[in-house]
């Protein structure tokens, strides 16, 4: 166990050094990982990586690295940034909840952006605003709505990558990991500085479409003309149930001690994850109950993979079988001993060979791999260039790797899967199933409830084992406790009452001292900043339902603050749950089955998946209806209210200046009412005129006076 732990440490620490030896020029790599999903879908993950040496050594003229991104990085001094456009929601329970790939690409629907800057603290907000504008121009998205800090949070623990200098650490370094190994004081100080420069914003309502994809593809050296990106057929991409476009940047250019770790200047990761329905092929046994659909790359994307992008250093295609599927296959294997088909088997320590002979046409094979020339699926050359066993905590998964030929015009690489036996499996699920919903009715108030239900499945024991293993290593919490960090950003028009926050474990209300390990709450300021809730809970292991409830009052917006479709309601961004005690990591023990397994060493995707990260779950986006004013008639309201005010004012004035009968009589007895200044003056000047004519002149004079005053006022105002 100890060894394992240090191995990971070593791995993380040594990785940049490995790269440092190599990286003295720009690198680009393209990879595609395909994985069958249990619910008749296929998961495809396009992974493009750019590496750029530090600008101090290399200069700023690039061959491969996209100029637009480099300029953004330089201009806004970005240390780290992630932008994701997502449509649909990742189904953690159907598509896997803990594997590293899920951690990498499961994103909340809409747009999510977070960034760490290398600018002084007082400039961070301004820089963030400019960055959103630049990105919104670059990706044709309404990211500029994140400019004002109204929906932007400053997370304290989440997203703050604790391992700033240790090479490329996309996303978050595991929090626990970072916290417990930051023995160095200066390092923790660095982290604090970093954390104050993190900004996070999300636009849950943003629609994602090709207009975002096209600029994203433009960043690739081969665009979508060659290489893996040429598979991206727009209608296919957008018909799937999940689609996540992601851009991750990390730059070391602004580190102070660049010389020491200055191996990689700027690192750009572009990923596109798709869940697409596996279309049935008529030639195979479709329609039969229990059979998984057969698919090939062509049937999935409707395009052939004609060859690699020649500019890419690595170009690889992986086919992954999850651990539960492999377990199932093994069981089938044991059931039918004599066979001459692809046998996938991995024992605990050494993976046995993948034996997939060319003429394996046995009818009882669970599935067959196919690399076909044309549309028909037949099983030839099914041997991948290499394969590896993923050794996670949940057993062994299998990763097959295929080399993409340089020019595949004659023989396009069409990896496919044909199932021979009905098989069902369920993916490795996370420790908890998280749902978030609104409680209460009406437009005045409500409550947000976040419910975590333990996944009662056989792997829970495995998980227990695993967690205990990780506990031994990290001694984060006492052995029978697990911990969850909840990060939630709530817009200002949802006034959270934090004092009503309740944590229920198995329906029993718990006191904060029992349950909350750490809490960071930022109350929302009206029209200025959102409410942010970051809570780290410690939960006993046997807890099956954990509920968090916070009450809120709904705010009332001005007429111009409502969205165009106001009656639809407002979207609350997803909450993010992180399980620091649950690490998602892939360990790929590759087996040199064939000679060309060199790219296993420098596969950016696999390096990425090997990194230890805590399991994360994004919850649903909530739709909150707010009370809508009458949009059609603001003038009516204004005039009505002003009428009421005028009535009040007029009547009060009237009452005030009206004389009561006594006084009136008294006043009358004194004679005619005293004249005004003007009348008296006139009567003195124009003695000869009659009273009526004098009154008339007085009237005209008064009018002229008023008009003159207005003209003077107008003149004065226009002048100034």
């Amino acid at each position: 166990m100890q060894f394992h732990h240090y191995a990971v440490l070593l791995l993380v620490a040594s990785f940049p050094v490995l790269i440092a030896q190599k990286l003295d020029e720009e690198e680009f790599s393209e990879e595609l990982l395909v994985r069958p999903l249990p619910d008749r879908n296929v998961f495809a993950h396009f992974h493009f990586t750019h590496r750029l040496p530090p600008t101090v050594h290399y200069g700023s003229h690039h061959v491969l690295f996209p100029k637009a991104i480099f300029q953004i990085v330089q201009k806004f001094r970005i240390r780290e940034m992630e932008l994701s456009f997502t449509q649909g929601r990742w189904k953690y329970n159907n598509w896997g909840g803990v594997d590293p790939l899920t951690r990498l690409q499961a994103k909340p629907s809409g747009v999510e952006l977070w960034a760490v800057f290398a600018v002084p603290d007082d400039q961070v907000d301004a820089t963030w605003g400019n960055l959103t504008h630049a990105l919104s121009g670059l990706f044709c998205a309404s990211l500029n709505f994140l400019e004002s800090m109204v929906m932007v949070a400053k997370p304290k623990k989440m997203f703050a990558s604790g391992c700033g200098k240790e090479g490329i650490t996309p996303l978050v370094c595991s929090e626990g990991f970072a916290d417990h190994h930051a023995s160095n004081q200066s390092r923790s100080k660095d982290q604090n500085i970093l954390r104050s420069r993190v900004r996070y914003g999300a636009l849950p309502r943003e629609a994602v479409c090709t207009e975002n994809l096209t600029p994203w593809l433009k960043l690739l050296p081969c665009r979508d003309k060659a290489g893996l990106a040429s598979l991206l057929d727009r209608p296919t991409i957008y018909k799937g149930s999940y689609h996540s476009l992601r851009l991750y940047i990390k730059s070391n250019n602004f580190e102070e001690h660049q010389g020491i770790n200055g191996d990689i200047g700027t690192f750009l990761q572009q990923t596109l994850s798709l869940v697409i329905p596996a279309s049935e092929n008529p030639s195979s046994g479709e329609g039969l109950k229990g059979f998984q659909p057969n698919w090939s790359l062509f049937s999935l994307f409707g395009r052939h993979l004609m060859g690699r992008c020649l500019l890419a250093k690595t170009s690889a295609l992986y086919l992954e079988f999850e651990a539960p599927l492999v377990e199932k296959l093994k069981q089938l294997d044991f059931g039918t001993k004599d066979k001459e088909y692809c046998s996938l088997a991995g024992s605990e320590d050494e993976a046995s060979l993948l034996d997939c002979s060319a003429d394996s046409s046995g009818d009882i094979a669970p599935f067959s791999l196919s690399m076909v020339k044309d549309n028909d699926i037949f099983m030839v050359n099914g041997s991948p260039s290499s394969f590896s066993l993923e050794r996670g905590a949940y057993g062994n998964g299998v990763l097959l790797s295929f080399n993409i030929p340089k020019h595949g015009k004659q023989q396009p690489l069409n990896v496919g899967l044909t199932w021979k036996l009905p098989i069902t499996w369920s993916p490795v699920r996370g420790p908890f199933r998280a749902t978030r919903f609104l409680v209460g009715s009406g437009n005045a108030r409500g409550a947000i409830a976040l419910v975590l239900k333990a996944n009662n499945m056989p792997t829970r024991d495995l998980m227990n084992l695993h967690s205990q293993r990780s506990l031994e290593k990290e001694s984060l919490v006492s052995p029978d406790m697990t911990s969850v960090t909840v990060f939630q950003v709530v817009p200002w028009y949802i006034h959270l009452y934090f004092h009503t926050l309740q944590v229920l474990i198995d329906e029993q209300p718990k006191s904060f001292r029992e349950v909350i390990k750490w809490m960071q709450v930022v109350p929302s300021e009206d029209r200025t900043s959102p409410g942010v809730m970051e809570i780290e809970l410690k939960i006993p292991y046997n807890a099956s339902v954990i509920t968090l409830i916070v009450e809120f009052d709904k705010g009332f917006l001005r007429i111009d603050e409502h969205n165009p479709d106001a009656n639809r309601g407002f979207d609350l961004p997803s909450a993010l749950l992180s399980f620091p005690t649950e690490q998602s990591e892939g360990n790929y023990f590759h087996i040199e089955a064939t000679k060309s397994s060199a790219h296993f060493h420098n596969s950016a995707l696999l390096e990425e998946l090997k990194r230890r990260k805590s399991v994360q779950v994004y919850t649903e986006v909530l739709l909150v209806p707010l009370a809508t004013p009458d949009f059609s008639m603001p003038y009516n309201v204004i005039t009505l209210t002003c009428t009421v005010l005028a009535l009040y004012f007029g009547s009060l004035l009237n009452v005030l200046r009206r004389r009561v009968s006594e006084e009136e009589r008294l006043a009358k007895s004194k004679g005619p009412s005293p004249q005004g200044l003007l009348e008296r003056l006139l009567s003195r000047l124009l003695r000869r005129r009659s009273v009526e004519s004098r009154a008339r002149i007085a009237k005209v004079l008064k009018l002229m006076l008023v008009a003159g005053m207005f003209i003077a006022l107008n003149y004065y105002l226009s002048d100034s």
């Binding site: 009715s441 009406g442 437009n443 005045a444 108030r445 200002w492 006034h495 009452y497 934090f498 004092h499 009503t500 926050l501 309740q502 944590v503 209300p509 718990k510 006191s511 904060f512 930022v522 109350p523 929302s524 300021e525 009206d526 029209r527 409410g531 009450e551 009052d553 705010g555 009332f556 917006l557 001005r558 007429i559 111009d560 009370a627 809508t628 004013p629 009458d630 059609s632 008639m633 603001p634 309201v637 204004i638 009505l640 209210t641 009421v644 005010l645 009535l647 009040y648 004012f649 009547s651 009060l652 004035l653 009452v655 005030l656 009206r658 009561v660 009968s661 006594e662 006084e663 009589r665």
Partner: protein
């Protein structure tokens, strides 16, 4: 509005007293029963009762924030005084972080505050009555206006009982919002003014102004009643009477329509000029100023201590008074502001804010000039104007002027359209929650206009009411 429970004419003195006691006791029991039956949780978050300024939920949140180490004004939640936090905060939430027993304990404070307010009303009524009857006796008006006898119910008794049994007061008290405490403070200052107790008047004024800002305008009536007395007949009337009596030996009836028979005069003109003339007691005014300054300093020091290190007085001022003046939050209430500023275009906002607030200020000087001889009535008029034009009014403000109204029973007896006004008032008061319910809970589209109109309607009726008051108050002069 209130039920005059014991209008026993000709009943024995002890019977009347008993009746009054019973009324008080029943009001107290009703409140306690409502609180114990759990009404606070229902009423405490009604928009008619709780506003962003006086809401109990927000007080609890402010206390939670303060205890967590924030300034209580972090986030746009709490807009009240830090002293209220220090006083009532500990009664709000349990330390488990569970739901607080909403308003239960604060409702108890509100009940006490209501009782004190009623008691103060009683005393104010008595001093008002004594001042009036003294004048009437001096002017020999007793023939025309019947003086209340000791055995019957005084104005104060009626006002107190009407205040206690006013359904708005009950609802406001049970709802557990801080406005009943503010009302008690306002009445304390008025009582201090009526009784000539300068420190008390200054204290009440300072605390109520500190809590809800608008009672600041009451400084004028308080100052006036301290310096010239709580209630007079108009100066002109006096002058003419004295003039008639001293110079011309004619019957006063020639000078005044309501003639005074000279032979029945019990006071000499010297008495008159001595007792009820307008001797301006500058010393009292100076005292009031000094005491006000003293209490302000005291309150601000306490606030500074209460806000603690995380907050500052500047923040307190901007989050309480600034919030009231800026009308940043547009949650529905009984006032005119919220819907108007929801709908009005953004660039008109400062202008209309100015206009709306100026409506209170505009009326201060004319009303003071007009009603300088009856400071208590002036205070009543100010209270009603404030209740109408406040940025976050609640029923609490309505109860204050409805409570003061019975004190001017004689003045308002000649009011016209009383039946129509009263029914309209009740009708609007009942319909307004219905409209709100339809808009917010049933979510009928376009119901807001109706809601706002009914809210505006309440104001209109208040306004008419007051107009009537003002108009008919002068009939007596």
């Amino acid at each position: 509005m209130g039920e005059e429970v014991c209008s026993l004419r000709g009943g024995s003195r002890w019977g009347t007293r008993l009746c009054v006691l019973l009324a008080w006791g029943a009001a107290l029991i009703l409140r306690v029963a409502c609180v114990l039956l759990g009404a606070p949780s229902v009423l405490g978050r009604r928009v008619e009762i709780s506003t962003p300024v006086n809401s109990f939920m927000r007080l609890a949140e402010g206390y939670w924030l303060k205890r967590t180490g924030f300034s209580p004004y972090t986030g746009s939640t709490y807009h009240g005084s830090p002293l209220l936090l220090a006083l009532f905060g500990p009664f709000t939430s349990s330390s488990t972080g569970g739901l607080p027993a909403l308003g239960w304990s604060l409702s108890m404070f509100c009940i006490i505050a209501d009782l004190i307010a009623a008691l103060l009303l009683l005393r104010i009524g008595r001093s008002l009555q004594s001042a009036q009857s003294k004048q009437l006796i001096c002017l020999n008006f007793t023939k025309y206006i019947k003086l209340p006898d000791d055995a019957g119910l005084g104005v104060g008794d009626i006002a107190a009982i009407a205040y206690l049994w006013n359904p708005f007061t009950i609802v406001n008290c049970v709802g557990g919002c801080t406005s009943s405490i503010e009302n008690a403070m306002i009445l304390l200052s008025l009582y201090g003014a009526a009784a000539g107790n300068v420190p008390l008047a200054a204290f009440g004024w300072v605390v109520s102004t500190h809590c809800s800002f608008y009672p600041a305008v009451l400084l004028i009536p308080i100052g006036l009643s301290l310096t010239v007395g709580i209630d007079h007949l108009p100066k002109k009337l006096f002058k003419s009477i004295i003039h008639c009596e001293s110079s011309t030996k004619e019957p006063v009836g020639n000078c005044l329509s309501s003639s005074v028979d000279r032979s029945e005069a019990q006071c000499t003109s010297q008495d008159l000029s001595h007792d009820v003339s307008f001797t301006f007691e500058a010393k009292k005014l100076r005292d009031l100023m000094l005491w006000s300054i003293f209490w302000w300093t005291y309150i601000l020091i306490l606030c500074k201590i209460s806000v603690g290190k995380s907050g500052s007085l500047k923040q307190m001022v901007s989050e309480t008074y600034g919030f009231i003046l800026n009308v940043d939050e547009l949650s529905p209430n009984l006032g005119l502001f919220w819907y108007f500023f929801t709908e009005v275009f953004d660039f008109f906002r400062p202008f209309f804010l100015l206009v709306f607030h100026a409506n209170i200020l505009f009326m201060i000087l004319p009303l003071t000039i007009r009603l300088h001889h009856r400071p208590l009535f002036l205070a009543f008029v100010f209270c009603s104007i404030v209740a109408m034009l406040k940025s976050y009014p609640s029923v609490g403000d309505t109860t204050l002027y409805l409570g003061l109204m019975p004190l001017f029973r004689a003045e308002l007896s000649g009011m016209r359209f009383t039946f129509f006004l009263l029914n309209g008032y009740v009708g609007v008061a009942l319909l307004s929650p219905v409209m709100y319910n339809l808009w917010i809970w049933r979510i009928h589209k376009n119901m807001k206009i109706a809601s706002s109109m009914s809210d505006g309607g309440v104001d209109k009726y208040q306004m008419n009411f007051k107009k009537g008051c003002l108009y008919y108050a002068k009939h007596l002069k």
